[in-house]
Amino acid sequence: MSASEDTFSTLCQLLEPFNTAKIGLKPETDISADLNIDSVSVMDFVMEVEDHFNIDIPLNVLSETRSIADLVKVVEGRLAKV
């Protein structure tokens, strides 16, 4: 499994409590629209991601982050800085 696949898999696990409709998660899944998650829940989910990876993901970044694949890139970018 590549690092990106590993990150994707971890994000999917962290997203599960928010995936109340239990839809199948793919890299192109839109975190807010496809999972019908409101903006506050998206921020709460991102907090879980921050704590898991011990990184900060500033809220400013989220406006450009729609899909799980987008978030994989953000996480790996932040990890590369640590």
């Binding site: 506050v40 921020m43 907090m47 011990n54 500033p58 400013n60």
Partner: protein, 400 residues
């Protein structure tokens, strides 16, 4: 062509669902306001328990007289911003007296409380800075942070150790501003200010406390949470509003920084808004003098708040927090039962706020009461009694 309103479809559908369940809980009309605690709503005299009119000062004869005199002397409006049209002497007078009340060197007033947060946050922080904000912050704080262009880091609600962790792993190069609230508007809980001050001593940052719901309410001098906690010297900036304890409209920021007044030339929400009207300034100033001269209002508010809090506890209701404040929020099981309870309460003659996700912490469905010093004990007991009746009707089961 994409209709710009398409993106609001889910909001529209949700609103329609709410209407189908009864009255318009988020679009209510007060046909006539009778007093700080009474209105005619849908033809019925109703006890108001969701107004944030903490001091019950909106019908104070001295405040009304001051507003009427200002209308006569200075007209209905200022017709422009202070940097374009100049200040009225009353703007300066209010800022000076409020700074003295707050025991701060400088004070700047804004046209609304919402703009006070926009103006302070966007004036203080810029794109090279980082703002750390409590996760449960009011929308005006989120919007002010966004307007600033600063890097925004959210920490867990009231969790100083979480802030500590985030500061420790940060790579901030510019300034750092931490934002907390004196009393949080939905649940009525206070920030653990002493814990945040400890983190401030460890990491070094500037601290802003939004005292919107605690100004006039907390502390031996009514200056808010920092006053209550004895930590005013550790708080760099305070923000507040005139639309709650002051019973008017407007907001303020205050601090001791020698460059504080640069905000008048750097804060766009201050610079590009018409200044507060003369009548608003006059009633606000009169109300600030009342806060100073009549501490019994604060004491009465505390007694009333405790009475409502204890009354709800005796009914077995799940409340938003364990500490007493003028905000007493009842945690309901789901959206449908919350709307049903709200409707039943209104029909029985009491108005409270309804608060639903995503506007609430932790997706809670709340019936939010705000207590006034002007409530009588009979009012408080009636509110408790009517909640009891609604519970007995089976609309409520304790939220877990």
């Amino acid at each position: 062509m994409t209709d710009l309103f398409d993106k609001h479809r889910t909001i529209s559908e949700r609103h329609e669902r709410m209407l189908s369940l009864g009255a318009n809980a988020v679009g209510l009309t007060n046909d006539r306001i009778l007093s700080p605690t009474r209105a005619i709503i849908e033809g019925r005299e109703t006890v108001l328990a969701g107004t944030n009119n903490y001091m019950g000062i909106t019908f104070d004869p001295d405040c009304i007289a001051a507003g009427q005199e200002a209308l006569d002397l200075y007209g209905t409006g200022t017709t422009g911003s202070r940097i374009a049209n100049g200040s009225y002497a009353q703007h300066r007078e209010l800022e000076l007296e409020l700074a003295q009340f707050l025991n701060r060197k400088h004070c700047i007033m804004f046209t609304t409380g919402y703009q006070a947060n926009l103006g302070m946050l966007a004036g203080l922080a810029g794109p090279k800075d980082t703002i750390y904000l409590d996760a449960d912050s009011h929308s005006s704080i989120y919007d002010g942070c966004t307007l600033s262009g600063a890097k925004l880091v959210r920490f867990r609600h009231n969790d100083a150790s979480d802030l500590d962790k985030r500061l420790a792993r940060s790579e901030d190069e510019g300034g750092r501003l931490v934002v907390v609230e004196g009393i949080y508007s939905m649940l009525g809980d206070r920030a653990p200010l002493a814990d945040f001050v400890e983190v401030k001593k460890k990491h070094g940052f500037q601290l802003l406390v939004d005292e919107a719901h605690s100004f006039g309410v907390l502390g031996p001098n009514g200056r808010g949470l920092a006053d209550e906690a004895g930590l005013e010297d550790d708080v760099d900036f305070v923000v507040g509003t005139f639309s709650k304890s002051i019973g008017a409209i407007g907001g303020f920021g205050a601090g001791n920084h020698p460059q504080f007044n640069m905000l008048r030339y750097a804060s766009r929400p201050y610079m590009f808004t018409a200044s507060p009207s003369p009548a608003t300034v006059a009633t606000s100033l009169a109300a600030i003098r009342k806060l100073k001269a009549e501490p019994q209002r604060r004491n009465r508010l505390r007694v009333n708040s405790t009475r409502l809090f204890d009354g709800f506890k005796s009914l077995g209701l799940a409340l938003g927090c364990d500490s007493v404040s003028p905000i007493v929020a009842v945690n309901c099981p789901d959206e449908v039962s919350t709307i049903a309870m709200w409707n039943a309460l209104l029909k029985a003659g009491v108005y409270v706020n309804i608060a639903l996700p995503p506007g609430t912490p932790g997706k809670q469905c709340l019936l939010r009461c705000s207590v006034s010093a002007a409530h009588t004990f009979e009012d408080i007991d009636r509110i408790v009694s009517l909640f009891g009746e609604v519970v007995a009707q089976g609309h409520y089961r304790k939220a877990v």
